[in-house]
Amino acid sequence: MHTETKVPERSASLAWRRIEDEVIIVTPCEGLARVLNASGSRIWELIDGVRSTADIVTELGREFDAPAGPAEEDVAAFLAELAQKKLVRFKE
């Protein structure tokens, strides 16, 4: 499966909230809190279990008026980092 067609979804076990421009994510099993910066927070909010990575990149491009190429790499790397921390998983 190509990166851009992968569909990320948030882990059901975690708790999270947007506080102004930042998202705080709490993982109950670890008792840990993590904070995302503004662009990470926006990506987090776009993760809905329906949008693919490419959809998220397109949406960000529309919102931030950024060229699609670099954004796709950044988003994919960010999503991979979230997946590695088990905050998201990719739907098959």
Partner: protein, 349 residues
Amino acid sequence: MITPQALDPYEAIEQKTIQRCIPFKLDWELTYRCNLRCIHCYQTRPADMQEELAAEEAFSVIDQLAAMGCLYMTLTGGEVLLRRDFFAIAAHARSQGFALRIFTNGTLIDEECAGRIEKLDPLGVEISLYSCRADIHESITGIRGSFEKTVRAFKLLKALRVNAVVKATFMEQNQNELEGLRRFADELDCPFRFSFTVIPKLDGSDDLRKLRVSEECMAKLWEPHGWMVSGISEGGLPVFEPLCAAAFNSLYISPYGEVYPCVTLRKPCGTVRSSPIAQIWSSPFFKEVRSLALSDLTECRGCPDALYCDRCSGLAFMEKGDMRAASPNDCVLARMRKRSIQQFRRDHG
């Protein structure tokens, strides 16, 4: 995109919520009903005085607070598991992104209930246990058989890897039980928390004070390791402003929907049945609590024990009816800490 922070990320975001007055933490008593009769319970209102919030009303509370930025929700009572709709309310909170803590006496947690709690992915389930001896525990809870059920709850939850926390209040009845409880918690790999504070009854009577352990006994049990105060002001008071987080980033809701800055600061501000929570959050008493300053604390100014004091405006309000006064309970604790720390320093150079 995961921000490196000088502060722990939680600390940083908590500071932000305090500075911006975002209701980040909720303590919510879902019911006053309880199946135990604990001697130190502060609750004196008849459990059926009014109708508890219905599930639909509770869902609205959750939705409103989620929109306001609330993340941490502690569900307590009474005994929360007496509510038949407890799991519906808790599940709705989880679906809205809340991090849950559950306070319970554990007696209603059987295998099925433990499984349902596990599915909620709570941050913690804090269970009151007063002794590892049934007779002492039950001399406090007032109900025979409660010890065995509470111990069973710990074992069932731990088997499911739920973070069960052993929580004790020490009183005259169980003042010798600390080591036993610590061993029990260690054996089950549970965190252990304890306190000497017996909160005054809601009806203003102070007959719970007689349950408190003596200052001498506290000094023996209390361990000074890790006690920190950031500094003292010229007036001799700790350099903490705001004085506490109540009304800044935390609030309390009663089973009837009354909203207060804290469980101890119960001055009518409004109920969720008549006003949006955002409106109550800006009500005069919430603003008054936010305006509390070190310079208001005339009784505490110049206190020689201030460096050792973890002052609570709410306790002062309950004990003296004045949140600017000194809390006698806190005065005792501060004196005890000072003695204990000074002794520790003498013993350890």
